[in-house]
């Protein structure tokens, strides 16, 4: 496993909800990334987001790790839930809230702030908080 893959894995496993998107919540590079974040917000869940645009290798390694070809990708407690269509559909049916509660327990949907995390080279930490 490459160093970048290791950092991706640590972030996915270390944060309750992680969404790989194009851009940031404030400056979205793709409508589908916004759809995924909106679906999470609709059930009071806040995510850590990672922008895949700065380095094409992030997306490549992410796909290699989890076998999912498109962005966004939503992870809850280290497991892939799906892309924008899936989380939107699950939010509409009520299953998204159920699934998050099942995986994260009480407080998994506390409506806290979204955070942007940058996968940084050689910092010793799996990630660096930038906002």
């Amino acid at each position: 496993m490459s160093e970048l893959q290791e950092r991706i894995r640590k972030t996915v496993e270390g944060e309750p909800i992680v969404v790989f998107i194009k851009g940031t919540p404030q400056f979205l590079g793709c409508g589908n990334s916004g759809r995924a974040l909106d679906a999470l917000r609709s059930v009071g869940a806040s995510a850590v987001t990672i922008d895949v645009l700065p380095d094409p290798q992030i997306r490549q390694d992410l796909t290699a790790l989890y076998g999912w070809p498109t962005i966004p990708q939503v992870f809850v407690k280290g497991e892939l839930v799906g892309g924008a269509d899936i989380v939107e559909e699950l939010a509409a049916s009520g299953e998204l809230a159920t699934e998050i509660d099942k995986r994260l327990g009480e407080g998994g949907r506390n409506g806290g702030d979204e955070r942007v995390v940058e996968l940084a080279e050689g910092t010793g930490s799996p990630f660096r908080v930038v906002s």
Partner: protein, 77 residues
Amino acid sequence: MSVERLQALLRGAFPEAEECDIADRTGTGDHFHVLVVDKQFHGMPLLEQHRAVNTALAEALEDGTIHELRISTRGAA
């Protein structure tokens, strides 16, 4: 890769599908919406249903033919 080719890939992957369509959402040949209604999806988690569609179109996703893919799946009645 043409829409017809993508359609053929889907039909090959879901030969018994009740519905199996791919639509060019924007008319630019790179943003697509796939609909597959297949009894094999009954009881299958949504993630695995979508994974099956992604697998069917893996080559086109890999080579950039498909820039955006929306997926709708359900089990046939």
